[in-house]
């Protein structure tokens, strides 16, 4: 179950999406996310979803694989949905005891849920189709201009790579620790909320210790290979914008234009 979180995972492939310059994909993803917040009606979401599924189709990443990532954050989506459903004032559709559902609430809840789903799937496409190393290289290059004003672009990029790289490792670790404590009779599925929170201690402490151990080992391994920061570091594979990227940029611009236009539908 905990392994189902696909965020940060790479799905190897040879599609056009995989081959695009990482910078194109990062900008594309940011544009997509921004666009999700520009949208103010369901038509906009329909266009966004259509575009997103077209990209998924081209990328050849199996849909099942992508949706598996959603099951893990289902609780968060459900929570957002429920909160919005009951918290908005307006035309009453249904009322019982202290619970009231309004037309506006229902609309807002659906809106938020769709937005979250698109947000999660959209951003997971980026990591599914981009090797972590390319992702950081791209990020570092994009942040380069900011170095002039003191933004440590290399360090930020490195931190992001490490975080991405270790999501699956920590998931695996968590899975193992949960199982090991279950084997000792620990019960994570019943009890009051406070009791459940307390029950997490046997998972969290070993997890913290493992994280520190992993961090220490990584630092040692990097030092052993003479890592000393970004200055003077060269790359084995330089990244370049190609013709594909120009095409992608045009497609992206058109898409953004259509979505912004959808506000007035």
């Amino acid at each position: 179950m905990i392994r189902d979180i696909t965020l940060g995972q790479y799905y190897p492939g040879k599609s056009v999406i995989h081959k695009l310059d990482a910078r194109t994909k990062i900008i594309g993803t940011i544009a997509f996310i921004v666009e999700l917040f520009i949208v103010n009606n369901f038509w906009g979401f329909l266009i966004a979803a259509g575009a997103m599924f077209a990209v998924i189709g081209v990328s050849r990443v199996p849909l099942k694989f992508i949706f598996r990532g959603l099951t893990a954050v289902f609780v968060i989506i459900l929570f957002t949905f429920v909160i919005n459903l009951f918290m908005v004032d307006g035309r009453v559709l249904w009322h019982w005891w202290i619970l009231t559902i309004t037309y506006e609430g229902l609309r807002r809840a659906l809106f938020m849920a769709v937005r979250l789903v698109l947000l999660i799937i959209g951003s997971s496409i980026l990591t599914l189709c981009t090797k972590p190393i390319e992702l950081t290289d791209g990020l570092e290059k994009l942040l380069k201009p900011l170095q002039k004003v003191g933004v440590p672009s290399h360090e930020i990029a490195l931190m992001m790579t490490i975080a991405l790289r270790f999501i699956p490792t920590l998931m695996e670790e968590t899975d193992k620790i949960i199982k090991a404590q279950q084997a000792r009779g620990a019960d994570f599925e019943s009890g009051s909320i406070i009791q459940r929170a307390k029950n997490l201690i046997p998972i969290l402490i070993p997890l913290f210790i493992s994280s520190f151990r992993i961090a220490q080992e990584l630092a040692l391994a990097m030092e052993a290979r003479c890592y000393n920061g970004g200055s003077g570091r060269t790359r084995m594979n330089e990244i370049h914008f190609k013709k594909k990227d120009m095409v992608a940029a045009v497609v992206l611009a058109v898409f953004l234009g259509v979505v912004i236009a959808s506000r007035w539908i």
């Binding site: 392994r3 199996p62 099942k64 694989f65 598996r68 193992k176 620790i177 199982k179 090991a180 404590q181 279950q182 084997a183 000792r184 009779g185 620990a186 019960d187 201690i201 046997p202 402490i205 070993p206 210790i209 493992s210």
Partner: protein
């Protein structure tokens, strides 16, 4: 007590592009009081198999019987299975979390809902069974112990639940030779003292030969060989074809057998080999 596994099959992430058939139609049984050694290449499915035996994983198909009671029909309570079957994971010291050794060992018995007196007794007994001194370690933090000691504390945490079947997944992985020898002699001790069924996974063929009553060889999710250590280690070529080996001493005596005319050997342990070689030399001298 006995364990019987029938036609067990298990797939990770079924229906996904990364699905893995980890267990492929495995059947075997273990009789009361036996020590069963499991060998197999990394990724052959050993750990997956063990996690089925105490209900941590649910089989795709097949049944597991413990003492003739089916634990895979969905009716048995998980707590009841875990009371009977203790599972010690690989690198169990990574699960330690309490402030003191005594508290950590008490975690399992507490989860079983025992009273304080019984818990205290079990903690003392378990720490003694794994060969540690209660007075010396009980109030220490588990994190200040040595690697071998940590591992024994972790094993005590499972023993304190009084399992009728004790499963150890690679109990000696990553230990130095001294700690390795200590853990192996601890496994022997536990079996002598408690007489329970024990299952252990190891890549050390010498330990498998010395400790096991029965050996299972797992390869690509299937049982490739099954039998007494003598039967299994007689298949030297087959084991080597799977990337496994026989105990080093067997390799030595088999080489001797090839290089001499009338020396034949069945030895599995250093003692047996020494006896056979002495007998051969005496015969030659006569």
């Amino acid at each position: 007590m006995s364990i019987e596994v029938r036609n067990l099959t298990f797939t990770y992430a079924p229906g996904m592009p990364d699905e893995t058939l980890a267990i492929d139609d495995i059947s075997f049984s273990i009789a009361d009081g036996q020590i069963c050694g499991i060998i197999g290449h990394t990724g052959s499915g050993k750990s997956t198999l063990l996690q089925h035996l105490n209900g941590l994983l649910k089989p795709g198909s097949g049944e597991i019987y413990i003492d003739d009671a089916c634990i895979t029909d969905g009716k048995t309570k998980l707590v009841d299975i875990r009371k009977k079957v203790g599972l010690v994971f690989q690198y169990p010291e990574y699960q330690l979390f309490e402030e003191t050794v005594a508290k950590d060992v008490a975690f399992g018995p507490k989860n079983l809902g025992l009273d304080a007196e019984e818990i205290d007794k079990r903690v003392r007994d378990a720490i003694a069974v794994v060969g540690l001194d209660y007075e010396e370690v009980s109030e220490k933090s588990p994190f200040e112990l040595s690697g071998g000691q940590k591992r024994r504390v972790a094993i005590a945490g499972v023993i304190a639940m009084n399992p009728k079947i004790l499963i150890l997944d690679e109990p000696t992985a990553g230990l130095d030779p001294t700690a390795h020898a200590e853990v192996i002699s601890m496994v022997k001790d536990i079996h002598e003292k408690l007489g329970i069924i024990m299952i252990f996974v190891s890549h050390n063929m010498r330990d498998i030969a010395n400790l096991s009553d029965k050996v299972l060889v797992i390869n690509e999710g299937k049982i490739a060989l099954e039998g007494t250590p003598r039967e299994v280690f007689a298949e030297r070529a087959f084991l080597q074809s799977m990337g496994l080996d026989v105990p080093p001493i067997v390799n030595i005596v088999k080489k001797l057998e090839e290089k001499t005319e009338d020396f034949t050997t069945e030895a599995l342990t250093a003692d047996e080999a020494a006896d056979e070689i002495c007998a051969y030399i005496n015969k030659q001298n006569r």
